[in-house]
Symmetry: C2
Subunit: 527 residues, 2 copies
């Protein structure tokens, strides 16, 4: 587990209020485990979900079977050790699994699944356990199949840039390996120090640089997956073009462990950019944010690699959380934008960026801004963006919504939620007697992806009534998605109807039935 503590700075920050959990797992004194116990998901949501009686309960003979097919140290049954796998990292969900299996090979995964399918034992595949919707934790007593022991880089071709890895390889490990070869992993996200490549693919992770490198549906060239009945679907191709039959691997991208377990990934990686710039801009209206985006796409085109926006509240909370002055000291602006460029020629990129910023300021679209002068400043500006998720929990908790909305309407959702909260008289940034601090918005505007966060001092049914189903109905009216990149998991299982029509949902359920007729794969979730 050492790897989970060896993380990028930003990720360590995000995680430090649950650090004791990791310490405990590493054998440190239980006394340091001071945070409150997370209630069982089954208790919290007893109205919503019941254990399905069709699933067999785990018996000692089952464990004996798993011992017969797995090497030593691949089976966890100790109550304390199980906790790490039963809980999600945000400590919202807690399952009651009595068994974690850590296979080392695809064949072992196949043996496990075949047995579980034959015996109707429900399972939860688990990668780095960094999800945000409770998708990788059991709800009841499902067996957890952790991919963490399948962590080998299988091959890399430096001519084509095609990387093949086990599913359990940590994203940052893969990227560091690629960096040595002059390549870059076409995906980057805050959890990179812990999340697994297989988990990324299973959840169709989007992240910070989708704008530049596109979605995993485009860059994943091949997959190896084990189907519920133990069939090994070996489709680890390394061809950029292959039109021979339906592209079935696409079904697994974003299936969240409900169709099978991804055990291997073949992915096309771009050349690593030789030059990078980051600019942090102050913008006075959401309309101007959109105009800056359109202009950036036009003028920076091929070198634009990230376009992130943050509202004023997100920055206030981040400044408080980090205990630092905001990078732009000249005032308090309604919106901020982080622009990153990545290219092959620093001089050209500098010139393009400076011309673009000059034009934008001249046109009054940008009020103020700074450009990072070195790698340390680049990291520092990124950390202002990447620290927001943690900063939103400063009051005690946060309701998180990760949504896609057509650009023009995107920020309207945050404004409307704040209006509702203020009308109810329950929100204040300063008055600690109010249960809510505020609703705030930030995200990957280049992808139409808003992270709506409602920062709270405590969770309460009253707040939830104000938020839901309002948020989902609002998104549905704009033909948006209730889950841009976080997935459905347990949290959004019942809300897919807000983003997909009845026929789409029916066809999705038919595919689930087609591949997993016994329903053993990650039950109580997704659809």
């Amino acid at each position: 587990m050492q790897r989970r503590l060896v993380q990028t700075a930003s990720y360590l920050i995000r995680r430090n209020n649950v650090a004791c959990r990791f310490s405990r797992y590493n054998g440190l004194p239980v006394a340091s485990y001071s945070t409150k116990t997370v209630p069982f998901t089954a208790d919290t949501y007893s109205q919503k979900v019941q254990r399905d009686a069709k699933f067999k309960q785990l018996e000692s003979q089952d464990i004996e079977y798993f011992k017969s097919v797995l090497p030593e140290n691949s089976i966890i049954t100790d109550e304390d050790d199980l906790l790490f796998f039963n809980e999600d990292w945000m400590r919202k969900y807690r399952g009651q699994s009595q068994l974690v299996l850590k296979p080392k090979t695809t064949e072992q995964v196949a043996s496990i699944l075949k047995y579980c399918n034959d015996n109707k034992l429900a399972v939860v595949p688990q990668g780095g356990n960094t999800g945000l919707v409770g998708g990788s934790n059991p709800i009841f007593d499902e067996i957890i199949i952790s991919l963490s022991a399948m962590n080998k880089i299988r091959s890399f071709d430096p001519v084509s840039g095609i990387l093949k890895v086990d599913a359990g390889v940590i994203l940052e490990t893969a990227d560091q390996y690629l960096a040595e070869q002059g390549y870059i992993f076409p995906l980057d996200l805050g959890a990179k120090g812990s999340c697994h490549v297989g988990g990324n693919v299973a959840c169709n992770a989007g992240g910070l640089r989708l704008l530049r490198y596109g979605s995993l549906h485009g860059s994943v060239l091949g997959l190896e997956a084990v189907l519920p009945d133990g069939t090994v679907y070996n489709s680890m191709h390394s061809l950029r073009k292959d039109n021979t039959g339906y592209d079935l691997k696409q079904l697994f991208i974003g299936s969240e462990g409900t169709l099978g377990i991804i055990t291997g990934v073949s992915i096309l990686c771009p050349s690593r950019p030789q030059a990078q710039n980051v600019a942090f801009l102050a913008v006075s209206s959401y309309e101007a944010v959109q105009k800056v985006f359109v202009q950036a796409r036009k003028e920076l085109q091929e070198i634009l690699s990230a376009f992130e926006f943050m509202d004023n509240t997100s920055q206030k909370l981040t400044a408080k959380h980090l205990g630092l002055e905001h990078p732009i000291e000249s005032g308090d602006f309604p919106f901020y934008v982080l622009i990153e460029t990545s290219g092959s020629n620093k001089e050209h990129d500098d010139e393009k960026l400076e011309t673009f910023l000059g034009n934008a300021m001249e046109e009054g679209l940008v009020d103020d801004g700074i450009i990072a002068q070195d790698e340390a400043q680049i990291q520092s500006l990124w950390s202002w963006r990447e620290s927001i998720p943690e900063a939103t929990t400063i009051g005690g908790g946060v309701y998180k919504y990760d949504v896609s909305i057509p650009l023009a309407d995107l920020y309207g959702l945050v404004e409307d939620i704040n209006t509702r909260l203020n009308d109810a008289g329950i929100a204040s940034l300063d008055d600690e007697s109010k249960p809510v601090l505020a609703a705030l918005g930030y995200g990957h505007i280049g992808d139409g992806n808003l992270h709506l966060n409602v920062s709270v001092r405590k969770y309460s049914p009253e707040i939830e009534t104000i938020l839901e189903p309002f948020v989902y109905e609002w998104i549905a009216k704009k033909n948006g998605s209730i889950s841009a990149e976080h997935g459905l998991g347990f949290q959004k299982k019942n809300y897919i109807g807000y983003s997909k029509n009845e026929i789409e949902v029916k066809l999705i359920k038919e595919i689930k039935q087609h591949y997993d007729p016994n329903g053993i794969m990650n039950p109580y979730k997704y659809v």
Copy 2:
């Protein structure tokens, strides 16, 4: 049909030996139809394929039904007019359909398919009929459903760059529309003046600029399709990120009309590059071609938009076909490379390209080369690349293979085929008594995609025995794909096993059975 004659120059060249067929359809004298009649596919391949007796034969009451749901002029039954739809443009395949339907709306497509499914009438969806594997023509009496009357651009959002079109919009029409808005269609291919966007998606077209803009699996954001039972799958989303359920639209991308009929496409379009360069290089070995590619990817990175290679034979035939001197006059080189850059700043791009070429020549990787000085020269250099397919038929015919092979091995296939042909003593560029001119290779090397063409003076079983199954076995040994971008269609139906393993093929067949249990969609093809 006017549009098929109003084409880009390169496409007109490619098509001019079958131009009389189009003329005839336009009402010109039949006397001008001098080329030989194409034999029925059912006769040519009578050993391989029989009409499936489960399909109903067309009756007058069926036509009455179609008349009741379609507007006037949407039904073709005239023998002469049918020919255009029954034959493929390369004149290799000819079906015997007695009916073409040209629906104008999705609902009409749904009515047609529901009726056909209920009555077990087999159908063939047809876009621009520009395919290369006989996928869009009937084999027997299947009803042809042409999407040519569904040709409206539905909407375009200039902020996000998301275009929504009817499936029957011609690729070039869509791109011209986008050009006016400062955007570009993320796909380009020789047949752009005739092919349909829906057909491109159904066949997962790759084309010339996949290297830059990625595959349709990444850029298509939404689809509307009619399933065999008449269900309208409306999934015309315009969200770059949407993780709510399995991404079912992916199954239709590359399904070649075997799962349903695509009626609408939503696609993400990039900003149109403001600067473009084309360089044409002479290279003395295939090893050097690979080195130039790796170097180009590194030095030109974000502006590299095409990297095409052509062997010496392909250029000899093209020069003869066009009746022109080769653009590089300094000698006869084993290989040629066309590099295109697209960017936002001409000056920067020029500098990058010149630096790159300077380095490549200094290192001895490139022997000679030219850079286009204006748009006319860019077009002229591209036409050297785009005229190859037509030039390969200069002797009378051509066997075409479109394959993906790992880069290092790619050209070895062409060499090995030439060895076999020469060993058999049947090939000569000059000796007209030999049935074969030569095997030659060209293609999108940036995508690992080789077009192996065997240029012949006549088709013969002897040649075919030398080529097959040798070609497919060779590709299978290298873990390549027997169809990189052309698809399976009728031509490669029985060869999928060379590129996909048994389990992959089994799962593909199960999906076909799942969506089309009566098998009415484009039968006798694909798998």
